[in-house]
Homo-oligomer: 384 residues x 2
């Protein structure tokens, strides 16, 4: 099967169902994308898939979409590509398998920008927050965007007004890379006031979306999109969030995916920081005041140690024994960070990161203040 | 033994050694205050006590001190008095027994103000922070002082410039009670700029100190004093603290005593909030943005429920079975608050609060996000 054929097929599939479409995703996994597309077109699919695809199955604009992308200097990245961010999206698949709403990897990713998606996602942090940001929040988002980019960390955000825009701009100002994940087609400059920003990002980074070209934004698409922002970062920093900010949705996805959630404190007299303080107070988020603390919290300090392991394992996929080794490396009484577990088990950090939430769902591990530990049930007391 | 004789003796003892004097405290516990004072005066004491008392053992100004206090409308409160804050100070004794530096109850408490010490300490929260407070910190300290007092909660602080002063003033503005714990004699108006404030506090609250009249403040006395601030509150709120603020010392005492430590977030651009953010980031403190959150964090919501139990138990002291009942009421897998444990065990909240840190030291209980639980060792897995 040629990659071009697969790409054309996935371009069709990416338009045929509104993400997230779990039944279609499962069907594609089961029979492969090409066969799945054939059967969807023919309407010969299981009922659940039919429900998700019947409305748009005749809408085959894959060739035009790919041509339009090429004109814009863009492309469609598919799971069969080397640059597919396999490990970042793995957590989504696992989360979906565990019934989490925020789960499910995209069927394909529409991309503008020359950078390799997987490479950019290797060392990335999401920086998100309110559109209606205060001067304080805008200042911090810009500083964090700049500071992270200066350290070679890619800034992932949603290109919205307020915090998102400041984070992207900060990264660009430091001549760093940034990824904007849109809730519409990557050829749709939304919000309009950020058309220039969105046009600039592909020069040094990526504008990505699971929505096909010309797709317009919609309320539910922002929520659906947020899981990709959370998945592409090693962690998420909420700079400012009001009580009802959409950033809290990204925060929830971050936690559900087993990523590090961070929140920036602010004046308690500011409604723009209420959401951040709620996340801190509930213990969901770690407080971060500086870029150095973000780096420390996302555990990138020991990253170089496990870099070589990660590379080889990414290439060949995890051997069967990985899960056992990772589980054995879990602390019995105190939690270990994913980095420590990776070093101790010799299993790639990305694999460790993907396995930990799976263990959690299975009741084999739990998150504590200091990282991950075995659940007591499995710590030798199960039969006591 | 008449209470007057005991009081005179403890007045002598409170001047004879520089607190904290663990050897002297243990000696007083062993032989009683009157006998201890006799032996100290005669120099017939164990070597450790001799080291703590030899320098000042001839300095007997007990009668003058008590007279001076009476002139000021003050008094010396001793452990033999009904108004001795037995349970708040119990945690200090336990901490000392466990080798914690911040431990050790005072030998006596010099007091100005008509209120009953034990009654005021029944429902109190410490509000502390930097002397060099920002406008933001001063605003919050005043608001918290006012808001807590409005809810009938006594505000404990150190009468220093900055946060302390604002907290006291806020409480007074709400016509509530406040306790100022000084690092000098209660007749010494320190800091000088707070002479009026310190003179006003006894009208509605208390100015207290373990240092005898005319004792001047000294650097180490502030640190020694801080443990009493922590002990007199159900919890401590750090409103603002720089990286090297003395408030961090009070914070450490609070945690060591098993009290709730809270910190107010602030702008990360403000050096005055750095200490608060460190406490939040390390997980030592819970974030509090409002007075309601302080009340919630200190678990006062269910306080009325256990009030009657507390009263009776305070009067008769804990029966031997209390420790067993409290331990049985601990959660096996999830943590319970001290309030819940008190209700479930039928043991007075104060006793529960005093026992929990003791259990922790003995490895019988541990603190988790949600409160206290049994340590795994004792949860049925010990022999597995």
């Amino acid at each position: 099967m040629s990659i071009d054929k697969v790409r054309l097929t996935r371009a069709y599939l990416s338009r045929v169902a509104e993400p997230p479409a779990p039944a279609l995703a499962a069907f594609v996994d089961e029979v492969g994308p090409v066969k799945a597309a054939e059967l969807v077109r023919a309407g010969r699919v299981p009922e659940a898939v039919e429900g998700q695809t019947s409305a748009r199955r005749g809408e085959d604009r894959a060739e035009q979409d790919l041509r339009r992308m090429a004109e814009l200097g863009g492309r469609l990245v598919v799971p069969e590509d080397d640059e597919w961010p396999e490990w970042p999206f793995n957590a989504l698949t696992l989360a979906a398998a565990n019934g989490l709403k925020c789960g499910l990897a995209p069927l394909a990713l529409w991309v503008r920008g020359k950078a390799n998606v997987a490479e950019l996602a290797e060392r990335a942090v999401a920086v998100v927050g309110s559109r209606d940001a205060s001067g304080y929040g805008q200042h911090i988002a810009t500083e964090f965007g700049y500071g992270l980019a200066e350290k070679g960390i890619v800034v992932v955000s949603g290109a919205a007004y307020g915090i998102d825009g400041c984070a992207h701009r900060g990264a660009l100002a430091a001549e760093g890379s940034t990824i904007a994940v849109l809730a519409c087609g990557v050829d749709v400059p939304y919000p309009a006031g950020h058309a220039n920003l969105i046009a600039r990002i592909p020069e040094r980074g990526l504008v990505v979306s699971e929505y096909p070209p010309a797709h317009t934004p919609a309320r539910h698409r922002f929520l659906t999109r947020n899981r990709l922002i959370a998945a592409l970062g090693d962690g998420t920093v909420v700079v400012e969030a009001g009580r009802r900010s959409g950033a809290k949705n990204t925060a929830a996805s971050t936690t559900a995916l087993g990523r590090v959630l961070m929140a920036v404190p602010g004046p308690v007299t500011s409604a723009s920081s209420t959401g951040c303080h709620e996340l801190l107070r509930s213990g969901q988020a770690i407080a971060v005041s500086t870029v150095a603390e973000v780096v420390e919290s996302t555990g990138r300090i020991g990253a170089d140690l496990v870099e070589s392991t990660r590379q080889s394992s990414t290439a060949i996929g995890p051997p069967n024994g990985d899960a056992v080794r990772v589980h054995e490396a879990l602390g019995l009484t105190t939690g270990h960070s994913a980095e420590v577990i990776a070093v101790e088990s010799g299993v790639a950090l990305s694999t460790v990161r993907a396995l930990l939430p799976e263990f959690e769902m299975a009741g084999l591990a739990e998150r504590v203040d200091t990282g991950w530990k075995r659940s007591h049930v499995t710590a030798g007391c199960g039969d006591a």
